[in-house]
């Protein structure tokens, strides 16, 4: 059931500043695609445009056959486009397990008129199963009863990821999900992502600064600089591209 994310010619303008300029990204379902670029390149703005958190001036967002542009954030999520946040958005007063359950529960609530009022027995069972699986996969089962405010940044990142993968999204946008994780956690994190993608067929578009992680798990990457996509191709090719090295890695091009 893997579906591709097809974003075409998205432009986002804040007043006179063009934050994202005619960006086009095609990310395959069942694969992890990287979106890299220096700070301020417009990566999160691009994500916000995909999920309907800002209003792009132009461009289209398509998930499989489904046109998402023109819909609100919740509706796009309902149609299968999920995301995590660079500045984590956890339910601070809830426990880890409640946080993870809230993802699929919120998602299922959008499929019936009375969905927000109550969960059917089938839905409750499914929510429980998905939450348990996701927590296990992310290695946070032992934290299930802890309140999220008591966790370290790395653990909180994992809770946010668990909530996202517990929700039956068709495609995930992950915004710097490994920031705050140590080297060992980052390795484990990469494995969680590749396993999830392999098993569920969900596609992932990953914004990440950790180039080691990106080159390990992403087949293709897009490089964004000053709001423009300046490169697309395989990760290895990108590393050797002068244009990318100059824009992103700060190297001077040797004439």
């Amino acid at each position: 059931m893997s579906v591709d994310l097809d974003v075409k010619n998205v432009t986002v303008r804040f007043g006179g500043i063009v934050a994202v300029n005619e960006a086009t990204v095609y990310a395959n379902g069942g694969r992890i695609t990287g979106l890299i670029g220096p700070n301020g390149a417009g990566k999160t703005t691009f994500f916000n445009a995909c999920t309907g958190r800002n209003r792009p001036e132009s461009g289209t967002v398509q998930l499989g056959e489904d046109r998402l542009d023109g819909h609100g954030t919740a509706n796009r999520a309902h149609r299968g486009l999920g995301r995590t946040f660079q500045r984590m958005e956890l339910f601070e007063s809830l426990s880890v397990a409640e946080n993870v359950r809230a993802g699929p529960s919120a998602h299922f609530s959008s499929f019936r008129l009375l969905g927000p009022l109550y969960a059917t027995a089938k839905e409750s069972k499914e929510v429980e199963r998905r939450a348990t699986d996701a927590m296990e996969r992310c290695g946070i089962t032992h934290l299930a009863r802890k309140t999220v405010v008591d966790l370290s940044t790395g653990q909180r990142r994992l809770v946010e990821l668990a909530r996202a993968i517990a929700t039956p999204f068709k495609f995930l946008l992950l915004d710097e999900p490994s920031s705050g994780l140590d080297a060992a956690e980052t390795n484990a994190f990469g494995t969680v992502l590749t396993d999830h993608v392999a098993e569920s067929g969900v596609g992932i578009l990953l914004v990440e600064h950790d180039m080691a992680l990106v080159s390990e798990i992403c087949e293709r990457i897009y490089v964004l600089d000053f709001g423009k996509i300046i490169y697309e191709g395989t990760t290895n090719d990108a590393m050797s591209s002068d244009l990318v090295r100059s824009a992103y890695l700060g190297e001077a091009i040797v004439a």
Binding site: A74, N75, A102, S109, S110, P116, L117, M211, G250
Partner: protein, 668 residues
């Protein structure tokens, strides 16, 4: 057209007073993020003080005016500014609780001193006509008011839209981080704007005193005209607010003559008077979401979740409570049972309000209007021979679309606008709605007889008490069921992060509307119970369904705690029951009850900012305990603080420092 021109000058004169009230309101909201529901109360206090000095003490109007302006405008403005500063990081509901508490306090204080009757006061400014515009004679009074408000509007526009310090004051409200980035001190401008805002309220109160009479209730209700004008100015734009006030003034002056040509129906006749309210709702209906932003929410801290009791404690508590409530008629004399029955009715309304406020973070200032809808509907149903239980359910059901209508208009803009819309709705209901035949009619009264169900007579007070108890248990069960249901968990999640909830597909607007509808349903049940005690319901200003009661209930709930059942019960007891027992059954307490409730509500709302625990710790450390009181908590914080690892990543040669470790997480 010529007819319109005839009404134009008088419309502008009315609009100028509206503009003054609205300018003060918008100015303070714009510069502090605190929407002051007590604005009308400030106008009323100034009017009373002016009346006291000018009429009762016999002062000349000029010094009386000046002293009232200094005391209420300047001194009062500074006091309210302190309150606003303490509320700076409070969640929206607590801001509303505090400012409504202040309104209740002022209203109650004025009523305690001067009574609730409208006091006539003759004009103090020269009333002779200076010149005529069409048929309208322009007096010194008209010129003074119009000149003052137009000048004030222009002056404030220049100060806040054209100067650096004015702009920065507004910007800091939306993004507190900007404070550290600028050299100017916005606190000074904020203080000045509260003084100006209060002065405007005071001036308008004193201008209106000879026109409307000195009455706290009239002046508080009049504020709705300012809300309409403020809405037309998007609660932000000072010039548009003045223009909006003028439009409303002209419509209020002109429309009655036109409406009387169209229809003689009293409801239609009443419509022009409600132009401000209708415009307020129209703005909420048609304005794009980005045009009305809730100010100051970036500052708001999250409320700490309440500690839940263990199951044995909860069940034990409910069992004990149930036993006491069942046994009440055995130890309470029959004469006092009516008070107990109506306490149960108020418990239901408090429970509906508590569910809305503490579970969904929204606040309603029209809960007794929903109760009135319930009472009136039940009255009509019973008159048509429908059985009491069915009438009760229909009453609740009728309130659902009403709740939906009120909430849908404002919910997408944020919590403070819901509070404004509900306040507007409560005032409109009081002024027009209650007089319609579907509610209490022109007679302002409808019978709601106690029933006979399946041969059991509930007409006597003790059986009726048990019927009320059954409805209260039902309402309590609904609240607990909502809390335990998916809706409850979605609401808890939403109060933490609406963004994350929407990102997982949940329709947060729908969730808020649903909980509002359930709340309206429950409030309507409460209304049926309350009206069953005296066996009638009325929309009188002194009755249970008045705007004032809705406001006092918000204040009481504000300090009664955040528990779903215990807090509404405590609130209902404080509000309705304690007045029959000493020492609360004295005239003095009953007179100043609102003042006490208002003070308590304000205290609870600002107490997190007062840091009372810290103060106690400081006092105890000063009195012998040498240990640094901050040492413990700080150490504890350090121990539990998440350590952010700065990982050394394998980065390609030449990578910028921002790519490794600490640089992460700083992108856009």
């Amino acid at each position: 057209m010529t007819e319109f021109l005839v009404f134009l000058p008088s419309g502008i004169a009315i609009g100028s007073v509206y503009a003054l009230v609205a300018l003060g309101l918008v100015l303070t909201y714009k510069t502090s993020g605190i929407f002051n529901f007590a604005h009308g109360g400030i106008a009323a206090v100034a009017a009373y003080l002016f009346y006291e000095l000018h009429i009762r003490q016999g002062w000349h109007w000029a010094p009386a005016f000046l002293v009232s302006l200094l005391v209420v405008g300047v001194l009062g403005g500074l006091l309210v500014e302190r309150l606003a500063a303490l509320l700076g990081s409070a969640p929206t509901v607590m801001v509303v609780v505090a400012t409504v508490g202040l309104l209740v306090l002022l209203q109650s204080l004025m009523t305690a001193i001067y009574g609730s009757a409208n006091i006539f006061m003759k004009s103090y400014l020269p009333t002779n006509t200076l010149f005529t515009l069409g048929r309208f004679g322009v007096t010194v009074e008209d010129l003074a008011v119009t000149g003052f408000s137009l000048g004030a509007g222009a002056g404030l526009y220049v100060l806040f839209e054209r100067t650096r310090i004015g702009k920065s004051t507004t910007a800091v409200v939306d993004d507190p981080n900007l404070l550290s980035l600028q050299g100017t001190n916005p606190a000074m401008v904020r203080r000045l704007s509260w003084i100006i805002g209060s002065c405007f309220a005071a001036v308008s109160g004193m201008f209106l005193a000879p026109k409307l009479g000195v009455s706290v209730n009239t002046l508080i209700l009049l504020v709705i005209a300012a809300y309409g004008a403020a809405a037309l100015g998007r609660f932000e734009n000072l010039l548009l607010t003045v223009a909006g006030a003028m439009v409303i003034g002209v419509m209020v002056a002109y429309l009655p003559s036109q409406v009387s040509k169209i229809s003689s129906n009293p409801l239609v006749q009443n419509l022009p008077g409600n132009t401000p309210f209708l415009l307020l709702f129209l703005v909420f209906l048609v304005a794009p979401t980005r045009l009305l932003t809730e100010r100051g929410v970036a500052n708001a801290r999250r409320t700490r979740p309440i500690r839940t009791f263990s199951r044995p404690v909860t069940y034990g508590g409910f069992a004990l409570l149930g036993a006491v409530l069942l046994l009440v008629p055995t130890f309470v004399p029959n004469a006092e049972m009516t008070q107990y029955a109506s306490t149960l009715g108020y418990f239901i309304v408090f429970a509906s309000l508590g569910m809305l406020v503490w579970m969904s973070g929204q606040i309603s200032l029209c809960q007794m209007s929903f109760a009135a809808v319930g009472a009136a509907t039940a009255g009509h149903m019973l008159q048509h021979g429908i059985s009491w239980p069915l009438a009760l359910l229909i009453a609740g059901a009728v309130a659902i679309p009403v709740g939906a209508l009120v909430s849908i208009t404002a919910i997408r803009f944020g919590g403070i606008y819901v509070a404004i819309a509900t306040f507007g709705f409560a005032i409109a209901m009081q002024q027009v709605g209650y007089y319609t035949s579907i509610l209490f009619g022109q007679a302002q009264r409808i019978d709601v007889p106690r029933p006979e169900i399946l041969g059991v007579h509930f007409t006597e007070i003790v059986p009726f008490y048990y019927l009320c108890l059954a409805v209260a248990v039902l309402a309590g069960a609904v609240v607990l069921a909502v809390r335990a249901s998916r809706l409850g968990s979605l609401l808890r999640a939403m109060s933490d992060s609406p963004t994350a909830l929407a990102a997982h597909g949940a329709n947060t607007t729908l969730i808020k509307v649903v909980v509002f509808c359930i709340s309206a349903f429950l409030a309507a049940l409460g209304g049926v119970v309350i009206s069953g005690v005296p066996q009638n319901a009325s929309g009188a200003l002194t009755g249970p369904f008045s705007v004032t009661v809705s406001l006092v209930m918000v204040a009481v709930l504000g300090f009664a705690g955040r528990r779903p059942i215990a807090s509404p019960l405590l609130a209902a007891i404080l509000f309705q029951l304690i007045r029959i027992y000493p020492p609360f059954n004295t005239e003095g307490f009953l007179k100043y009850q609102g003042v006490i409730f208002g003070l308590l509500a304000i205290f609870v709302a600002i107490s997190p900012a007062l840091n009372i625990r810290g103060a106690i710790a400081r006092v105890s450390s000063a009195s012998g305990d040498r240990r640094d009181p901050s040492a413990g908590p700080v150490r504890a914080r350090l121990d539990s603080a998440p350590v952010k690892p700065v990982a050394l990543r394998s980065t390609p040669v030449g990578a910028e420092p921002e790519l490794v470790g600490s640089g992460k997480g700083a992108g856009r």
